[in-house]
Amino acid sequence: MKVKNREPAKQENNIYRPIKGTIERIKKQTSDVSLFTLELEEPVHYKAGQFFMVSVWGAGEVPISVTSLARKSTRIEFCIRRVGMVTGRIHQLKEGDNLWIRGPYGRAFPLELAKGRDVVIVAGGIGIAPLRPLIETFMKRKKYKVSLLYGSRSPDDIVYLDETRKWKQQGVNVVLTVDRPTDGWKGNVGLVTTLWHLAEVDFKKSVAFICGPEVMIRAAMQDLFFFGMPEERIITTLEAHMKCGVGKCGHCYAGKLYICKDGPVFSYKEIKEQSILNLGF
């Protein structure tokens, strides 16, 4: 029994205790996605790829990935889609209301893999959210050639539409596609995985970061591996039902790993070895 070196139980030691954030700004992105900017009562230090447990008292907690640039700050942004009970309640909040968060949790994106390589970023729907700080980081450092393949349901469902224009100006090869075009849409139609020829990179020498629905992730990873990209350089971030974020509640358990603390960022190599997706258990 662990009783040695007993420290007085400080309140800060409670891994489940959330801190308070005030919503400074809500920017509507699409009919069901909004960008929430929070000002926190104490600074948090987060990196791209990590997530927070975001909660509204009375509704519950949900895991939401960070969508603002990595830093230590009292300011943080979450891009949230209205999809369930808790996110429904979050969307009812107004500027000045409170959101409670705890984190950051999980592994960040391995940025060092991109050193001296071209970058392919593949996003589907709200999957763009954790990838946004990644794109911004690469643009800030100016040394990277970045291609973004981004698929949405329809032209009205493109999250960060303004920013894709900005990124284009900054030199990102932005390829947008939609499943269901509306009148006036002149861009690509169909799945992102049909647009590899527009990526303008040598897949064998580049690194990929993928986030989106599980079917898209699986297809994209298999394609890139088929094109010769080494499996340890195909990186994705996974979604799972989570209640704690710290590897205790058991919900996101896959293989012998917990998506929350051993992930949510995994390489294709890890996913295959640990049989995480398409649970080969």
Binding site: M1, K2, V3, R6, A9, Q11, N13, N14, I15, Y16, R17, P18, K20, S55, W57, G58, A59, G60, E61, V62, R81, V83, G84, T87, N98, W100, E214, E239, A240, H241, K243, C244, V246, G247, K248, C249, G250, H251, C252, Y253, G255, K256, K261, L279, F281
Partner: protein
């Protein structure tokens, strides 16, 4: 540091009464309907000393079925956590439960300590009893988690008829015995001999010999096909009984409950055998196929627990054997796996 004493049975109730004056005493007691369960003791003489080995596990006292984590006051906009610091002594639990708690310590305390579990654990003294008479469903002997423990206990009692052979390991436990040194005497050679006899006779009484190691090897060898697990799954009622009874099943869910002025955030037991356990936002069910859930439970206990925590996710207490209406408890499944190993095929299970 391990210390040994002899406690005359006539002194037990005095000692327990003294302990109860200092802290909460929990022991096997009859409840309103006559079941023997762990309860807070009001009358020492009502403790069931000769109860069967198999009682509901003490998991409830460390990870309660329903536990408040926080209370949020709407008026003050303040959050208060409710970490229990009650000092308790739990008397009469068995070796398997102590072994389970030792494994849970590694899970809950070693990395990212869970403050609720940790506080309960640190404030609880365990007085476990060696099983002289294991139940027919017990198989701790194959896992080294019973009928007695070589280490990892606070205080361990072996019933020698008219007296207890007392072993204490932790500092807290030793100090609690030393405070009442006048009740305890030094063990004589005959006491050691008697204890040895008791342990031997207890070991001989086990009816089930089950090797989880063998089951693990067999699964890892790849010889067990999905058709086997399909058969196991077809018998699963998805009642969650095994999960709730298991001293090593700890999955929980978290809920918010709103009252007039407050919100309570609480956690409660959950089960990976339920379809909605892994439900994603938008209603996607990654584990909708039942076989995935059955395999998840068994693989967690047989494969991943030893990989990560260096001990099986099973202590051989046999509670799932008693609970499972489909006879696909750990012992039965391991027996089936064993018959595959021996005969290359499955034989019908006994009974």
């Amino acid at each position: 540091m391990k210390r040994e004493w002899i406690l005359d049975k006539n002194h037990l109730s005095y000692w327990l009464r003294q302990l109860r004056n200092q802290m909460q005493l929990i022991a096997p007691m009859r409840d309103q309907v006559g079941d023997i369960v762990f309860k807070q003791v009001e009358h020492i003489h009502k403790i069931e000393l000769n109860c069967p080995s198999l009682l509901p596990s003490v998991k409830e006292f460390f990870l309660p079925q329903y536990e408040r984590l926080f209370e949020y006051s709407k008026k003050d906009d303040r959050v208060v956590d409710s970490i229990s610091k009650t000092k308790r002594v739990i008397f009469g639990l068995r070796s398997c439960d102590v072994a389970a708690l030792n494994t849970l310590d590694r899970f809950f305390i070693d990395e990212m300590p869970d403050p609720y579990y940790k506080s309960r654990r640190e404030n609880s003294l365990l007085i476990s009893i060696v099983c002289n008479n294991p139940d027919p469903t017990c198989f701790c002997i194959g896992l080294d988690t019973g009928p007695y423990l070589k280490q990892g206990f606070d205080i361990q009692l072996t019933d020698l008829g008219d007296r207890y052979f007392v072993q204490a390991e932790s500092e807290w436990a030793i100090s609690i015995i030393k405070n009442y040194h006048f009740l305890f005497s030094r063990p004589q050679k005959s006491d050691y001999d008697d204890q040895y006899e008791v342990l031997l006779s207890s070991k001989a009484r086990f009816q089930k010999r089950i090797s989880l190691q063998q089951s693990r090897q067999l699964i890892k060898s790849g010889r067990i096909k999905d058709s086997f697990w399909q058969g196991i799954t077809s018998r699963c009622f998805e009642c969650g009984g095994c999960v709730y009874q298991c001293p090593l099943c700890t999955c929980f869910t978290v809920v918010d409950r709103s009252y007039n002025d407050t919100v309570e955030r609480a956690r409660l037991w959950d089960s990976c055998l339920f379809k909605g356990f892994t439900r994603l936002a938008g209603g996607i069910l990654p584990n909708e196929e039942r076989i995935k859930r059955t395999k998840r439970w068994f693989f967690h206990k047989l494969i991943h627990y030893p990989d990560v925590l260096e001990s099986f996710g099973c202590v051989g207490c046999g509670r799932c054997t008693v609970t499972c209406p489909g006879r696909i408890d750990m012992a039965s499944v391991c027996m089936k796996l064993k018959s595959i190993a021996l005969n290359g095929e499955e034989i019908t299970d006994e009974g």
